[in-house]
Symmetry: C2
Subunit: 251 residues, 2 copies
């Protein structure tokens, strides 16, 4: 049995998230159908994150087992031929038997995109949050830095599948501006359900003067979800990296 | 009667081009419906170019007459409220009675976008031509420079509405690369039907070694459409400027 990891990207607009559902079109289900057709898989691929409906991915890793003898470098073209245009496989590599797209991951990165001009950009509809209001980047960076480090993020997540611990380590949270586009990049050892979107929503609450950047530590300490900001809309969120401690996909 | 010009942008994917048709959804028809609703117009807006189905615009000017007393700065928000998300009005200004979005224009600019990685980018589907083949930019720039200047472009257009002359002046034709994205920017005093797409298609024929950059002058002189390259697909083309000799829209 071969064990293969794929690097893919997808526009999540038309999907009800990653995870297979019986009555809705999902990225995992669509990729699974393609893998059945191309490589005769008998179990769905494992994905590196349970992205929600409307969330996108630029760099997403999924693994699967197959008896197929297709050469590695043929997988992208074979899968892209049967996949819809909004899911693209870029690379494939062999991984060890014990590789797991979630459990082997040591660091993940999400990027949240906003568009801040006075009028929308038709090319960013469903691709970035349209936010035509003032943003004091200095104050937002200050608030973001107060989320970096090892903290209990119970106050900044939605309730989902039960987890053993709500403590996570945020390695980086940086904000970059390019004209009217602002990108919030968050790297962590893991993310709770809706954690990235709630961290960004909490920065927007700071921008709206609902609380000051200096209140972030006490909000985290409280563990009280109602004290943090709203969950930012899905359309601005992209999975942008999943790190396994070594380069899986070579050029 | 007020005479007003609008600055708009649109994603042309879902439209059968600019010009109103009785049996298809067009940008002009959709904008006209919004102007009837918001400003009670009695004639369709005049647009700065007859963009084809699937062609986009980042900077497009359209003018119309109205008896409405809506303040200028309210037009964008009022129109965007009724327009679909893929057509956005950014600004409005008063223009003189004799202004005409086509006839008053002294210089137009189109930009053609290609994506050249080995696998597609799902976020550029319908937004750029996917072209996963080698491109020798030096040779393409050489070919492009041979199209700059005043020439008869009969060999690089499709037959459309009859025109008095097929002579046009191309002011600039530059090519810029940003990672896997390549942009071809063409500025001219006017464009014949499909001229921008045929100029780009002719560069692709040069890339495919169908002829050398040095043959461009003789292709232009021949006036023979069959000697130039194919018309490049619509999805990569954007109208990016329309110049009236002065700044119409102030910040």
């Amino acid at each position: 049995m071969r064990h293969i990891a794929l690097l893919l990207s997808f526009d999540g607009t038309q999907y009800h998230g990653w995870q297979i559902q019986s009555n809705a079109t999902t990225v995992q289900g669509t990729l699974c159908d393609a893998l059945v057709q191309v490589a005769g898989v008998t179990a769905p691929p494992v994905g590196c994150g349970r992205t929600d409906a409307g969330v996108h991915a630029e760099y997403y890793v999924a693994d699967f087992f197959t008896e197929s003898k297709i050469p590695l470098d043929r997988f992208p073209v074979a899968l892209n031929t049967v996949l819809p245009h909004d899911i693209v496989v870029h690379k494939a590599c062999e991984v060890s038997d014990d590789f797991h797209a979630v459990h082997s991951c040591i660091r993940k990165e999400y990027t949240y995109r906003m568009y801040t001009a006075k009028t929308p950009n038709p090319f960013l509809h469903n691709r970035a949050l349209f936010y035509p209001y003032p943003l004091d980047l200095e104050s937002l960076c200050h608030a973001a830095q107060n989320m970096v480090g090892t903290h209990d993020f119970a106050a900044m997540r939605s309730l989902g599948t039960p987890v053993k611990s709500t403590v996570r380590t945020v390695y980086e949270f940086d904000i970059t501006q390019n004209g009217n586009e602002i990108a919030f990049r968050i790297a962590a050892n893991g993310f709770l359900y809706n954690m990235a979107r709630t961290m960004v929503g909490t920065l927007l609450a700071v921008a709206q003067k609902k609380f000051s950047p200096d209140e972030i530590p006490s909000i985290l300490e409280s563990g009280d979800r109602s004290r943090a900001g709203a969950t930012a809309p899905a359309c601005g969120l992209y999975m942008t990296h999943s790190d396994y401690g070594k380069e899986l996909f070579h050029a």
